[in-house]
């Protein structure tokens, strides 16, 4: 294989991320301790620069396999890579002033490494590459979740996340090995063809499908592999929880989507039924459990589970519209949930608590922060004219379009339950009074910047939605 410049173009974002990681490492060594917070600015700015520099790396309309079939250079992978880079930049801004997190260079480095993993995950076209990418994503995240080693909850979060992750990834790996055995190839795009030629009984294929699904369900926190997420989100540093619940989850979704569509086209009926059942269970359970939460991070954790359920509708209906709607849903969800967790991080920094009682009368302490929370939560709840509404509209529409009106009905009923608990938080924020009303909640500059970008984003995605939807459609079309 002869290397030339054009071969590096498809992995330009990853290369730039590695370079940024190196810069962060060097800065961590040379900068005096007091200025370590500024590494956050460097990371965020670096992510912004990478976004711009990656424009030439955008794929052609025709997807292509690169690097010996290890990666697939297509719009789906590229779009989500861009989203992860955006999410990582925002997370860096939120982390800068978060307790001891922002002053530690290794935090930023681990996050960058994890982002590289995600970027590879969403473009992986080979079982080996996919497994490596998943682990590259996960291992830094295990460490990040348990970053505060003196905090029991944080270490518990890290350890729990690790145990769950290791177990499910082992099961998934077993599924991969079976597939390799059946097909004799590790390339995702050739497995289906080989299996078909081999005349394998459907039962064996369904078995391996279920095994790999375990690993993906863990990533997206789908029922029944969701148990880790509330504890992990509650215990891990809030910016990390935000990153976990958005970028990591979205990466899981893309892999799930690509794998199911490409590897198992002959058993769509079966996996469609499994995913449908999972979707219903995930959104219903997530919403019902979110109702009773007293801690806002746990509430957001369960709400994230519920949102995975809504997004799964887009996969379950197995149609072009469904896939586009899922991609759109993930874009909206990433922006909105990052905002929600970021605001919680900003509040928690001052109040020192993530209990809902800390949010009493918040609108009087910081009207702008309260407004941002209003926008974020209402978008999660699916109120027009915010992004979350359009996203829900599209996934429900996909269900109706696929003649699965009952699934849309369940989704709609769930949306009402969801409305209730988001509204409960807003009730505390806007309608309740507290003794601390005179104490303003100060928001630092990086937090202000990040929250503003996200809030404007939520409104823009909800109103000027055609470019976003076209983008989602282009990305979705490139799966096949």
């Amino acid at each position: 294989m002869i290397l030339n410049a054009s071969m590096f173009l498809p992995i330009l974002p990853e290369i730039l991320l590695v370079a940024l990681g190196a810069v962060v490492l060097i800065l961590d060594l040379v900068l005096p301790k007091k200025q370590h917070r500024n590494i956050g600015w460097v990371t965020a700015a670096g992510m912004g620069v990478i976004l711009l520099l990656s424009i030439p790396a955008r794929p052609e309309t025709e997807p292509s396999l690169v690097w010996g079939g290890m990666l697939r250079h297509d719009w789906l992978g590229f779009s989500f890579t861009m989203l992860f880079i955006f999410g990582a930049g925002i997370t860096a801004l939120f982390a800068m002033d978060f307790k001891k997190l922002g002053h530690r260079g290794e935090f930023y480095l681990l996050m960058i490494v994890s982002t590289i993993g995600m970027a590879l995950m969403v473009s992986a076209a080979d079982l080996v590459m996919l497994y490596l990418a998943i682990e590259t994503t996960a291992i830094p995240l295990y460490i990040l979740a348990g970053f505060f080693i003196r905090d029991d909850k944080s270490t518990e979060a890290g350890f729990k996340y690790f145990l769950f992750g290791a177990m499910t990834s082992a099961i998934m790996l077993y599924g991969f090995s079976l597939l390799f055995g059946f097909a004799g190839t590790t390339n995702i795009y050739q497995i289906a063809q080989s299996v078909r030629e081999g005349g394998l009984p459907a039962g064996a294929l369904i078995g391996s499908m279920l095994l790999v699904l375990v690993g993906f369900s863990f990533k997206i926190a789908g029922v029944p592999f969701h148990f880790w997420s509330p504890d992990v989100y509650e215990g891990s540093p809030t910016p990390v929880a935000g990153f976990l619940s958005t970028a990591s989850k979205a990466a899981g979704f893309v892999v799930l989507l690509r794998f199911m569509m490409v590897v198992f086209p002959d058993i769509t009926l079966q996996w469609g039924a499994v995913i449908t059942a999972m979707s219903v269970a995930t959104m219903t359970l997530g919403n019902l459990l979110a109702l009773t939460q007293k801690n806002i991070k746990r509430m957001l954790a369960y709400s994230s589970i519920a949102h995975a359920g809504y997004a799964l509708i887009g996969v379950a209906v197995i149609s072009q519209v469904g896939v586009s709607s899922m991609v759109y849903y993930l874009i909206v969800y990433l922006v909105t949930n990052l905002a929600a967790f970021g605001i919680v991080a900003s509040c928690g920094r001052i109040t020192g608590s993530d209990e809902m009682t800390a949010y009493y009368g918040m609108s009087r302490r910081s009207p702008w922060l309260a407004l941002a929370l209003l926008v974020a939560l209402l978008s999660l709840a699916g109120m027009p004219p915010l992004g979350g509404f359009v996203a829900k509209f599209f996934v429900f529409a996909a269900a109706v379009d696929a003649n699965m009106i009952w699934l849309a009905v369940i989704g709609v009923l769930n949306a009402i339950i969801g409305m209730y608990y988001y509204l409960t938080v807003l009730k505390y924020v806007y309608l309740y009074r507290s003794e601390d009303e005179e104490k303003p909640l100060l928001v630092t500059r990086p937090q202000k910047l990040a929250i503003t970008v996200l809030t404007v984003g939520i409104i823009l995605i909800g109103t000027v939605l055609v470019p976003w939807f076209n983008w989602a459609t282009t990305a979705a079309a490139s799966v096949f």
């Binding site: 009207p367 109120m383 027009p384 429900f396 529409a397 009730k427 055609v466």
Partner: protein, 507 residues
Amino acid sequence: MNYYIDPLTLVTFFPVIGIVVLLFLRADQKVHARWVALITSLITFGISLAILAQFNPANPDLQMVVNIPWIQVAGWNISYFMGVDGLSILLILLTTLLTSLSILSTWTAVQDRVKEFMIFFLFLEMGMLGVFLAQDLFLFYVFWEFTLVPMYMLIGIWGGKRRIYAAIKFFLYTMAGSILMLLAILWLGIYQDTFNVPELAAMGGIPPNLQFWLFLAFGAAFAIKVPMWPLHSWLPDAHVEAPTAGSVILAGVLLKMGTYGFLRFNLQLFPIASVKLAPWVAALAVIGILYGAAVSYAQKDVKKLVAYSSVSHLGFVMLGLFALNSQGVQGGILQMINHGISTGALFLIVGMLYERRHTRDMDAFGGLWKVMPIYGALTLIVVLSSMGLPGLNGFVGEFAILLGSWGAGLPGGVLGSPWFTALAALGIILAAVYLLYMFQKLFLGPVTKEENRVLSDINWREILTLAPLIILIFWIGLYPNPFLNLMSASVDQLLNAMQTAAVAGIP
């Protein structure tokens, strides 16, 4: 490229200009905030008058139409489509007028977080105008849901003692209904390939059994909003706990979103189901009329009495609309306006009393006429208008509705039963009972409580708030033709279209 903004977009989004100005004010600039909001709402009212001047009553179709493609991807056909016709023009005027008067009424009543209050109020106005102007189902739904949040905040932050309970109940009730409507909208958009309301209406062709389900899904959202018995239980809580201005808008405009929804969407889009279900809707409406009146009579709290009277009055509107003939529908639309004027005025009146005495218990008053004669006289006019005294506005609407409900409308067996009319007429008598009872308890007889002797009569600002409504009460009562002329062409066209569809659809 021209920079001309069409009038409907302008009127809908003009309040946003006021909101932007308000955002730059400091929290302690209360007076400035009030003036900014008032001027904004007055200009919006002015724009709506300009729209009226441009409006051609002889044209039954949508006018001043703006139709810009919005979401045309993946087979969706969603556009930013606004238009006004005879069914909505009066509601636009009512909305902008009542918003201005409500803001004027808060001058001294709202002291806490004035800036935020005004911001939410103007957002609410924008949402309501959008609801009445949108002609695309998606756009309509966006505005429809948009009104929820500001109203939730108005009730929840500036309301009475049980404000939080009332706010959440209001929100969830409405949300639950409207999300069913969302499903129906999705179905229409996907299987009929457009969200464009006039196109959908003209297309027809929805099988009768599906029409039935779609009618119910839309109807659930609207019936909760109206509210029709037995879905009314959010209303007394919301009305009683809301601040005065909130109650005025809630009763005056938000409830009309429900009746307007039936008129614009259910009747137009599902004519066969409408014809078939009309007797049932009418029966619920009549139950609402009697129930609302009976419960009103039992109230001790003046505001609650007025709140329950809304259930009764809106029952009349629904009866009129589902009479499905020209008198009934015109009476129904006029009665929407009348109810907005009379009940809006009643809430303002109750609010003025509450501001002085901080109670609304009827037993705490008596003989107020002697202390506050101007206030008493104005109240009497409004009370008489609300109970439908000939010569005042309420009579015109209710009479037309009764007339319509007696004379049967469309083929396929609609009302036509004098029973509905008779029972509804009983409702008018009951209205006289509870309203006069209230008036007597408050104003007549000797002054029973010492603290009532020192109450000041209403001031110039309060008179100014009520004056436009009083003028309208007489105007509509004595010379309703200009108002009926505005709507008659559109109503006739709607009924003709329904007739054609129903004849074709019902074997």
